[in-house]
Amino acid sequence: MDPSDPEIIDAVRRGDVDRFDELVRKYSPRLFATARRYARREDEVEDLVQLVLVRAFQHLGDWRGDAPFEHWLMRIAVRACYDQLRHHRRNREFTITHLDPAETDWIERNAVAPEGVGTDADAARSLVAKAMEKLTPPARLVLTLLEIEDRSVREIASLTGWSVPLVKVRAFRARGEMRRVLTRMGVDKYL
């Protein structure tokens, strides 16, 4: 039987640092999937996940064991992803986003028969990625957690450290912001 997370953490706290590798192996897939929602380049994703794991190691003493280790780790991950978004926002280049033919085709098919477009996921994913790139960090984070990862408002509040009303307000603003971004991208011409 695999040792439980509290057992491993106890061992690491007692000085057996090598056992932290077990946690790294166990939670890396989940962390990589999360980080890939916020960073596009693979080297950025790796740096981000490493940062999360190093932070977790440094603050392992703060984990009290009253919530599962995974929740605690995800909280660190979401905050690191948010920091990454804010850092990118400061350093990003402003570009004009054009729609490629596959995307315009997806939009037109969606306008005619919304239920029939589910199969072409690549076009939808690329459209979402383009729109998300243009959002402010809080808007992107809240829409990703709420509408793509399908998390509850309470869960988002716990992950981000924002209050429940703040999450609701930010979600409301983020939807409006995304509509404006889609309009700027010229999506409304095809609807």
């Binding site: 790294v24 990589f32 490493q50 190093v54 477009v117 589910g118 939808a124 509408e147 609807l191």
Partner: protein, 103 residues
């Protein structure tokens, strides 16, 4: 309304496609090496903490200075006459106190 409907449909389609959770092969060793470096040389961690604490201290000092500074800046060249006028106005004259008051 059309745009919001489209936006929802777009997000729903994006929800169906989860990003890959593949981990690069060398990754565990990379993290392991980073942790070993951190253990061997905790100075960067300490200095980062120290810098953060120093910046916080400076910020608190500036805020406190901005808040309490104007309160402490009492003009030094107030004429004594002002003080005596204030005392005359607020305190009753000794002659006005009824000497018959007894306990």
């Amino acid at each position: 309304m059309k745009l919001e409907h489209f936006r929802r449909s777009l997000m729903q389609s994006a929800r169906r496609v989860a990003p890959p959770d593949t981990v690069p092969e060398h990754f565990v060793f990379r993290v392991h090496a980073a942790l070993r470096r951190l253990e061997a040389d905790p100075l960067p961690l300490w200095s980062a903490g120290l810098w953060r604490a120093a910046l916080c201290a400076v910020a608190v000092a500036l805020l406190a200075g901005a808040f309490f500074g104007p309160l402490r800046a009492v003009p030094q060249d107030l004429p004594d006459a002002g003080e005596t006028e204030w005392a005359d106005a607020s305190l009753p004259d000794l002659s006005e106190i009824d000497p018959v008051i007894s306990w």
